[in-house]
Structure formats: C-alpha cells, structure tokens
Symmetry: C2
Subunit: 328 residues, 2 copies
DNA sequence: CGGCCCGCCGCAAACGAATGCGGCGGTTTG
DNA sequence: CAAACCGCCGCATTCGTTTGCGGCGGGCCG
C-alpha cells in the first residue's frame, strides 16, 4: 500500500535516493541509509514489482508448456525445470495445453504482451509457422521448429538401438512395437526407425502398432492393450513408452504368462513408474534432469542476448536393466 | 515495440480513444474504430500487459505451492488446478518448495510485491505465523492455518474408517500401519487416529510405523520397506499412502507371499499408480479434481472481495476396490 | 584563493497504458 | 430560443518505479 514516495517523505529524502538505496546503485550516505531503513520498516514497505517490471521490460517469468503435467515424464521434467529456473532467478508459469492449440497460442502470445521473458515448449500441437513469427526467446524440447529456435533433445536413434539390441540379446523372435503416430514429424520418431532397422538386420520379426498422437491418458493405453490381446497377437517381446509397456505387462501377467520367462519388455522413457512395478522394467531412460538443465541454460542465454543458429543440444540415453529382461 | 501512442498518432486520434476501443469502454465512432484497427494492424500492435497490470494492480496470476510436483498426488492436483484456473481466466505460477521454507516464504511475498493475485498452498513446512501476517487471498489445501484462511480438505476421518473397515472385513489380524510424523499437526492425521480407533474396536492388532515428515521421494519409501522386512515384522494387512503401500506390496511379492491371499493392501490417496500396478490396489481415493475445483472457486471468491470466516470445505473420499483385497 | 573533483542527493522524465473531466458540435426538449 | 442532453473524443493525470542530469557543499591541488 505504501509507495516509495511515502517512504521518501517519511524519511525526509527524495524518491531517487530511496530507489538508489533499494538497488544499491549510486551513492547514498550511511546516515540517510539508516533513516530510510527505519522509514521502510515503519511503513512496512515492499516495492511494487509491477512498476519495476514495467520500467525494466522484463518479469523474470518463464512459461513452460507441456501437454499434460500429470504424465510422469512431464511432471519430472517440470520438477527439474522449476528447480533450474528458480536457481537462475526465474519463476515458472506452467501451461498445460491439453492439446488445445489455442491455449498454446495464447501462452505464446504472452511473449508479446511482455508477461513472460521466455518459453520452453514441450508441446507439439501447434503449427510450426506460429512459432516462426515470434522473434523472442523460445527453446523447444524434443522438436525441431525452425532454425532460429534452439532444440534440446535426446539421441532417440541411440535409444531405439539400445532397446532393439536388448530385445535381440534376450532372444526375442517376435516383438510388439508400439509407436507414435507417423503422421507427426518429430526427432522423437527416430527411435522407431532405428528400432525397426536393427530388428530387420537381426532378422527379428516386429509387429508395429501405431498409437494416436498425443494421447497421454492411461485409460487410452488400457484400451489399446485390450485391443492387442483381443486380436490374439502372439509376441515374446514388447517395446513402447513406459505406460503402455506397463499396461501390456500387467495384462500379460494376468493371463498367466511369465515375465521375463515368456515375454520380455523394454520401456521407453524410464520414468519412476518403471521402477515402481514388479517386476521392475528394463528401460531406455531419458536424462530428464539434464534435459531440464540444458533447456534452462539455453533459454537464459537467449534472454541474455546470445544468438543461436541451428543450435541443437543432443543428450544421450542409457539402458537401465530391470527384471523384464534376463540378459543384460 | 509499438506503443499505444504510436497507434494513436498513426490513426490521427488521441491515446484515450485507442484505449477506450481496446477495452471497449466509453464511446468510439465506428469510423474511428476502423481507422484504429488499421493502425493497430499496420504497426503490429500488442498492448503491453505490464502497464495494464500496474494500473489495475492485478496480474491474473495465481501461485500454486506444492512440496514436489513429481509426486503423483500433487501432479494430478496441479493438473486439475491449472485447468480450473485457466477456465477462470487466471494463469498459474508453479512453485515446487521442496520443503525449503525460504522458497515458500519467497513465494508468499509475491503477494505483497503484487506479482500474484492469490496463493493456493499445498505445503506445510512454514510456520503458521508467516501466513497470518498476510492479509491477501490465500487458500490452504488440507491444512488449517488460521481463521481468516479458507481450507479445502477431504474427510480424512472417513478415509481412515473406510480403510480400517476394509481390512477388518477382509479378516486381517495384524496390520502394518504407515503413518505420517505425528509431530506435525494437520487435518491429514485424522485418518490415522480414526484408523487406529476402528482397529482397536474391532480387536485387530496394528503395527504403527512412523514416517518422516514430507519425504515424498520414493527412494525413501524403498528404504523404509527394506527396514520393515529386515526387522521380520509379520503382518497380513497393510495401510499407507500409495507409494509405500506399493513398495511394500512389491517386496511382499518378491518374497513369494500371495497378494491378496496372504497379505491385503489398502492404499491412501488412490492416485493413478494404484491402478498401474498388478494386482491393482484397493485404495481410499481422494477427489483430486474436486479439491482443485473448490480451491480455485474459493480463491476466486476471495479475490472478488468475498469474505470468509472459518470457512472449511470438506470433501468426502471413496473406497475403490482393487485386487489387493478380496471382500468388497 | 580559484577551480575542480567527489560524495551525496533532489528533480523530473521516462516506462505504457487507463480513465476522469471537460469540450465540442449537434439534437431534443420545454 | 435557450437549456439540457448526447455521442464522441482529447488532454492531462495516475499507477510506482528507475535513472539521467544537474546542483550543492566541502576538500584538495595548483
């Protein structure tokens, strides 16, 4: 309620002096400093950040866009991103786009409205064109948007290879391969191409099963699994993102087939849920903490004025051995 | 870059007119309206929200404080809260306090700094006194803070009762009861008291096991379970929050005891992970969506100037039958 | 002793928008 | 025919800061 003017009057100085003291820029005598401190305490003064933001043209807020925050991968990502942003002096605005591209658009527009200083986008629904129009700090997670927008991604090719090799090593002959919708372009898909490539080379049969784009709710995954079993597909290995691999394993167990005896599983992402189930699942794990760290670092650089052209940070994945495969 | 003045000059009108048109308040002739529209388009004008916020003294941003967003309960809560806030015209600032009470304090201070219009706090680490000092819109999730701060909570007493009755019905004689640290006061604990009460009345032995306060990482839960089994405690029923109940079940299965044959499980919270495991777990489920909805509603009311005294919204829980108990 | 630098500080102009007030034509009303 | 009213609009102030510029004493140097 009390403004800087009130403090100044109360302390018998000018507003400039109070301001200088707040940001300790310029000279202010020790004695006046004391007087101002007292005045601030007595009036219970807190600077109004809005006025500062208006003058400085920055808010210190970063928007993080994710499709669904309840999804383990994204909740972990957001968790780390928040920590990194906080450490870098930023606050985080969270945007669950739920695949609503108008929500995505609205949040992007906040850059123009000066509400946020930057955006980290983990969503893929919007037309790429919309992003290109915006000449503001944006970092993309796992998506190539345009040459002026840096990307941080993982080496999905390597991920596909690791998964495939694991299943081959474990002697699988017929592998169920859950894959994202091919219609959507994403670095993301590389893992599927590479997976198929390695399998073909190793003469292992694969049964591709295409999933809808951006359906992250697990009810959907349950439906899919029901469908798979209804069709009496026979397989001795499974590869897919955490959620569907787990659902698939559960149904396998319910039908009294042995894991990993009869069927081996390799999950992709390796979030905590793969460690939560019994048997724990072998998984290609994405370095979520590093993804968050790099995203924030890149964005900070952009905000600080650094220019990036065709910048891509590629992080490597690892295979974590669980109990759904036998050979390491 | 272009400001309202530029638009006004470009359209040959005064700034007031442009402003009136933007907020359509007051009169502006159709013809001038057109001219301004053209000017806005040509200059690619977007109003600077910071200036508006300064004038209006509100930002439309709500801070949501949670201890750990990677925790399924909170990630679901945040998910719903974001949707409700968005629908109510607010943006969400997410704060992962990670039990750092200084972070909590810093975010509360944003109310004074006019960065956020309100706070929904799901964390319990800070001294209650700090909250009482703040005469701004705050809603507490599952915690009684003071008479001027509305609380939205679930009926934990009923939750404790439902869980206890389920285990009694299933014929348990000796139940392992994981409970939160009693040192911390919270409506939250009611479930444990009620649980013990019902068990005593039914002459079922309980083995209470006290957990540390606010440790939400699942490594910790693993340690606890290891400890339990190392001490060779014998039990035929388990009650605890999702994560620990699941860890405990996994270890039980690994030791070749049958679930639910030898040991029954009832989890508390009933997040998606209880449905993700095999066998799926019977759980007392908290109405997370409703919690979020009510929190937002109360906060909106507070911001709109409505006064609440000793307001408490109590939501009821339900028992969801899974496969870790046999009798419904 | 005069000029100059230096520590200290006040004044006023930004920042970009919202809005109360009053003015200006033109029409209705008494 | 004058007063009241109405649609429309510009001007100046306000929101609460930051900061450039310039002033004012006092000490130091030539």
């Amino acid at each position: 309620m009390a403004g800087i003017k009130d403090v100044a009057r109360h302390a018998g100085v000018g507003v400039g002096t109070v301001s200088r003291m707040l940001n300790n820029s310029g000279y202010v005598a020790e004695e006046t400093r004391k007087k101002i401190e007292i005045a601030m305490r007595e009036l219970n003064y807190t600077p109004n950040e809005l006025a500062r933001q208006l003058y400085r043209k920055r808010t210190g807020i970063i928007a993080v866009l994710v499709p669904n925050i309840a999804n383990p991968f994204f909740s972990q990502f957001v968790n780390y991103a928040e920590a990194e942003l906080y450490a870098a002096g930023f606050k985080m605005m969270l945007c669950n786009t739920q695949n609503e591209s108008n929500a995505e658009l609205e949040y992007l527009d906040m850059l123009n409205r000066h509400i946020v200083d930057g955006v980290i986008t983990g969503v893929h629904s919007l037309n790429v064109e919309e992003y290109r129009k915006i000449q503001k700090p944006i970092v993309a997670l796992d998506r190539y948007i345009g040459e002026h927008i840096p990307v941080v991604a993982v080496d999905h090719r390597e991920g596909g290879r690791l998964a495939a090799e694991a299943l081959v090593r474990n002697g699988c002959r017929s592998v169920l391969h859950f894959r994202g919708a091919v219609a959507v372009e994403s670095p993301y898909h590389e893992r599927h191409f590479e997976f198929e490539r390695v399998m073909a080379r190793s003469h292992v049969r694969t049964i591709p099963y295409e999933l809808e784009w951006n359906r992250l709710d697990f009810r959907y995954y349950q439906e899919i699994v029901q469908d798979v079993f209804a069709r009496e597909i026979s397989f001795d290995g499974v590869f897919g993102v955490d959620e569907i691999a787990i659902e698939c394993m559960n149904e396998t167990i319910r039908r009294h087939r042995k894991v990993p005896g009869d069927v081996k599983f390799v999950a992709y992402d390796g979030t905590f849920i793969t460690e939560l189930v019994e048997p724990s699942m072998t998984a290609v794990v994405q370095p979520v903490a590093a993804l968050a760290k790099e995203s924030v670092r890149l964005l900070s650089d952009l905000i600080a004025g650094k220019e990036y052209k065709n910048k891509q940070v590629l992080l490597s994945v690892t295979l974590r051995k669980g109990k759904t495969t036998v050979v390491p």
